[in-house]
Amino acid sequence: MAVVETRRLTKVFKRGNVGAVVNVDLETREGEFLVLLGPSGSGKTTLLRMIAGLEDPTSGEILIGGKVVNDLSPRERRIAMVFQSYALYPHLTVFNNIVFPLKAQGVDRAQRQKQAEWAASLLGIGHLFSRKPRELSGGERQRVAVARAIVREPSVFLLDEPLSNLDAKLRASAREELEQFQKRIGTTAIYVTHDQVEAMAMGDRVVVMSQGAVRQIGTPADVYDDPADTFVATFLGSPPMNLVPLADVIVGFRPEHFLPAGVAERGGAHLSYRFQISHSEYLGAELILYGTIQGGALHQKKVISRIPSTHSAGLTDGSAHTFAVAESDVKFFDKQTEKRTAPRSLS
């Protein structure tokens, strides 16, 4: 039985359709870290808020622990949520913030103390108990918010971009910490983000959303290596997958799979092309090459290559070289539906 399940869940807004959700079917697995990934306005936050009970669905069902919860208020759903702003209660101390959900449940004083200490020790914030939220750093606030969410051992843990308010450096370490933490407590988590790096790094599975619909659900490797459609293919990866429209089909391959012939050979069939470099960007560890293909089925198409800097010798602007991509790395998309289709011959 899935912890959280949605069946044809739909939300229509009166004004405009930014953030709307269309017919979403979703099923979490026990203890997994599920990431909802999509650009802003794709409906991922709306979906999370419907699961939390903060937003009423227009149609469809939400199930928690196998029970339809559409008519239950947030407090009756046994969920916990970490908000983007953390939403710490500014007038309460850290300790009182953490025990607030327990008080609401009517847990007795001694038990409250015990559970708060347990949650705080998991996150290393015991020394902050008597502080007020405004006296905390961004990272500390995030931990308090997480502690408040886990303290009553919820059945599911909802997180709405909890790292977006941290600066870049802190975000990387907080990301790792949060992921480890979730593995340790083993509670199912649903995590909303627009940051693909976060999604790839943390998710057991990633749900890619766009315009209210789920485009693909799969492990990070699935969605990256086998994108279900052109949206997923270009939304993940930086620079995005090369998409080359041909007469009847769209051909896609990742820039890092399009390499100088000598570097690419690893066995298996390859497609070789003459690649005319127009300009390049040196990014330290790697080099991004922009150029066009000369000759063959992809003649005159603009593509990007991304190679390790260690293989950059001789790849100057204006020069032409033989590049290759493994046939297994080339994906095909239907021109009308933009969905994946069967591979075909390109020669």
Binding site: A52, G53, L54, S73, P74, R75, I79, A80, M81, F83, Q84, S85, A87, Y89, P90, H91, L92, F100, P101, A104, Q105, R134, R148, R152, L158
Partner: protein, 292 residues
């Protein structure tokens, strides 16, 4: 940049002068009068020390007025606070007709208070009071035993308190509304997810977060109430038997109508301690706003 050195003062000094002449000087004069023997029509001034204060303090009317002032201010502010808190929470969310409701609810504050009070004087009329008409119809009182709202000491006090509450409630409500709107939606939602119900959310989250703004509303409300005499002047003129006499109205009757400027000034000087406390609280809240 040399121009700037005199431009600043040149721009604000006229305003400051105006205020100093028409607030600062009379403020000092009030103290000077209170220790002198000025009367309307008399030219000279003799220092009489604390004589006026002594005679004021001996007057039973004065002591009654002090007591009434506190009863009037404290009870009306308690009522305002309770009413405004409920009303602001009921008005916070958008609902059809909200603008109209807001306009209607604001009228008692924005209409000139003397005018609103006259309306109430008619509603509380000794013979034709509509309230009494209803009370008689529902058989709560008999026709000839109907309450004389403004004619019996206790009822008169209750009436002026209620009318003043009616006048001040909108002001406190809109201030609290401003405070409510400033509470992030996230916090309220977090409370819902954390399992807090209707009352826990209101009493343990929203109300404590509104405290600073409630302080502001009560502070201004208390100052405006303690120093005002309009409602009382219109409804009862301090009567019957001084039962609704407050400090400002007593100062008016003594100093202006009674022509005893010195004693009137001495009475109004008793407003000053409260103002000093209020000013200190305003400064403190302004200072705290800068710190956080």
């Amino acid at each position: 940049m040399r121009q700037q050195r005199w431009l600043g003062p040149a721009m604000f000094i006229p305003a400051i002068l105006y205020i100093v002449i028409l607030v600062g000087v009379p403020f000092v004069m009030a103290f000077v009068y209170s220790v002198g023997d000025v009367k309307v029509g008399s030219e000279g001034y003799h220092f009489v020390g604390l004589h006026n204060f002594a005679s004021v303090l001996k007057s039973p009317t004065f002591l009654l007025a002090v007591r009434n002032s506190f009863i009037f201010t404290i009870s009306s502010q308690i009522l305002v606070l309770i009413g405004a808190t409920m009303l602001s929470m009921a008005l916070q969310e958008a609902f059809p007709g909200r603008r109209f409701f807001r306009f209607l609810i604001l009228l008692p504050w924005v209409a000139p208070v003397s005018i609103g009070s006259i309306g109430w004087k008619w509603i509380l009329d000794s013979l034709y009071s509509v309230i009494n008409w209803v009370l008689v119809r529902v058989h709560l009182v008999k026709q000839f035993e109907a309450p004389v709202w403004l004619g019996e000491p206790k009822l008169a006090m209750i009436s002026v308190i209620l009318v003043h509450t009616w006048h001040m409630l909108p002001f406190a409500t809109v201030i609290l509304l401003a405070g409510l709107t400033a509470i992030p939606k996230d916090i309220v939602e977090a409370a819902a997810v954390d399992g807090a119900g209707f009352f826990r959310t209101r009493f343990q989250i929203i109300l404590p977060m509104m405290l600073p703004i409630i302080n502001v509303a009560v502070l201004f409300g208390a100052i405006f109430t303690f120093t005002d005499m309009t409602v009382i002047y219109i409804l009862t003129r301090g009567g019957p038997y001084d039962s609704t006499q407050v400090l400002p109205s007593l100062a008016f009757f003594t100093g202006i109508l009674g022509s005893d400027l010195a004693e009137g000034a001495a009475i109004s000087i008793f407003l000053v301690p409260l103002l000093v406390i209020a000013a200190w609280l305003v400064l403190r809240s302004a200072h705290r706003a800068e710190v956080t």
